[in-house]
Symmetry: C2
Subunit: 365 residues, 2 copies
């Protein structure tokens, strides 16, 4: 592999000159620059970005740490991050850590010197401590982490509001036995969504019923299983709020197997509004989160932190959710040829009937 030295020799100049050519310094004579470029071409020279990073101490790489890479949610987050990073000339060093805190810490260490900043998504409750031993002032954005803004930049989803709004909506439709399929134990998002569910019920004077709170782990399978349990318990729910769409998909499937009509017999709602939610049968009502925009937002915040380095001030930001009502919860006409209701609407996503969670909040008070 040719190095800068080889090129310098081949072109009969010094390494500094070659370097300058590649860094678009304007103090190289055009004839020299051409000579250098030709030499480089002849030798197949490509600058060694690792060495360059060492020397400039900028890597143009962002580290991304995710709890897992499973499902459309993460895929969308990454897409949002990658697009934004790429647009700004940055690459992504990705690592998913299955194995709890030691794994995260190991991943963080191994990123030292390879990234300019970090996006860490870590909805585990014990998030805070693991971050503490990063070099102070290291550019870092946390996603869905239960920490205060004093020490970190953090972006969270409006889990509580979103869940609240959805449950209120179900209540408005007259549902009383509203069940929830909970998310992973000890997960921040899951806990917040559960809190929102309970709050909305309390608000309506309903007291929580343990039998209506089924456990899940955010997978289709767990949604399927939880729904079967709910159907066999007492009281039988008239609506099921799954705390993410994957579990809602499992729920729909279980209801079909059991011969229950959605939404006539049981209403179903999800959370996240992954792209395919509108193509389900029936189209799934969900709490919309613009997932890739979330990734984008995190990336922009991180890039800013990198740019301003020390002078950067931490903020906590809540990413808003929107209620998207489709047929699965029974608000829209649930039968008929369907052409008059909510078509999958190929063109623009923003044309879809939707209420911001805040607008619904106002309506409900």
């Amino acid at each position: 592999m040719a190095t800068i030295k080889d090129v310098a020799h081949e072109a009969g100049v010094s390494v500094a000159t070659v370097s300058r050519v590649y860094n678009e310094s304007d103090l190289v004579r055009e004839t020299t620059a051409t000579r250098v470029r030709e030499a480089a071409l002849r030798l197949g020279y490509v600058p060694h970005s690792g060495a360059r990073s060492l020397s400039t101490s900028r890597t143009h790489t962002l580290g991304v740490l995710l709890p897992d890479l499973y499902g459309e949610f993460f895929s969308e987050v990454i897409r949002g991050i990658d697009q934004t990073a790429q647009r700004n000339g940055f690459h992504l060093l990705i690592s998913s850590s299955h194995d709890g805190r030691p794994g995260v810490e190991a991943a963080l260490r191994s990123m030292r010197g390879r990234v300019d900043g970090l996006i860490v998504m870590w909805p585990e409750m014990n998030a805070e401590t693991a971050m503490r031993n990063l070099p102070a002032g290291f550019p870092l954005v946390l996603l869905s982490a239960p920490v205060g803004p004093d020490a970190f930049d953090v972006i969270t989803i409006a889990n509580y509001d979103g869940a609240c709004a959805m449950v209120r909506h179900l209540l408005q439709l007259g549902h009383r036995g509203i069940a929830i399929i909970k998310g992973v134990e000890g997960n921040f998002d899951a806990a917040e969504r559960l809190r929102g569910y309970r709050a909305a019920l309390a608000e309506a004077g309903e007291s929580p019923i343990a039998a209506l709170e089924a456990s899940g782990d955010f997978s289709e399978r767990s949604g399927f299983r939880a729904t079967n349990e709910l159907l066999q318990g007492r009281p039988v729910p008239s609506a099921i709020f799954a705390t993410n769409d994957s579990m809602a998909i499992g729920a729909l499937s279980a209801l079909r197997e059991a011969g229950r009509k959605v939404p006539d017999d049981v209403a179903v709602a999800g959370f996240d509004d992954i792209p395919m939610a509108r193509y389900l049968d029936p189209p799934l009502s969900s709490v919309h989160v613009d997932i890739s925009a979330l990734g984008e937002r995190a990336t922009l915040r991180l890039l800013e932190a990198i740019r301003t380095k020390a002078a950067h001030v931490h903020r906590a930001e809540t990413f808003p959710t929107t209620l998207v009502i489709r047929r699965s919860c029974g608000a829209a006409p649930s039968t008929g040829s369907g052409q008059a209701t909510l078509p999958p609407r190929p063109p623009a996503p923003d044309a879809e009937p939707a209420m911001t969670s805040s607008s619904l909040l106002r309506g409900a008070l």
Copy 2:
């Protein structure tokens, strides 16, 4: 940020000793090692992996180049790659290139010196040339690329066989007007699947009908649109073979809107068998590809290439597909309470009724 020099000074030893402590060399006295570790802890020292790479010329990082990051397919590939990489102590530097060949080349250059090897997924037809100007012998595995094995390591999906098998199956069920929803123009996988479709028809003495070949781009939306077009054309198909599952989902949705029963009025089949295919309504028949295993396979091949470097011999490998028959194509009982047919089956994926494409091939001859 503390460097090795600071630690050396703090511990009263030379940098070499510190380095040895971190590289588990056994020729450091235990008391010295402890002293060094304590100093490091006091200073919050973390080795600079970038610098380490430069000096060892091993980065412990794999570069991954994908055409896009959209949808469950890529998410699964990445997951397979990441898991395997991680298990072997490697990280992932990911880049998706939206912008055709110049983009790919730029991405490749910018990975020089930051990765030990590359996995490139690039189903564009003009793949070959862009790879040519990599340093000869650079560890590289291509996914879904239309190139010969002479110059590259390449893994392709059994697109042709899979499509062929699925269409044969539909023919066996008595379908005659079998439509296809094609994939992205100029895409290798898409072209092969189309070829398989045509071959199976020809084999059965059917001549291809242009009106039954609808265009698509692998998105739900395009599947939706293509299906509407097919329904308005002549002849109206009795079965629709979508060349990936996303488009099949769009097709199901369009058929529902149009009031057509699946599979009674129209049968539907997909390709890829993404995890959620079995939770659709009706559960989707599809050509199963173990996507994350594909990622794993590619990674193992790459790791081997890295290990053996020059002595490595290129191979072309075809990743097998399996026919997974669920209700959407009408082979299984299509109505009824459904509990006797194909449950979403929580436990193990391999318990599902499936035929390898090769076994079906034999059966059909």
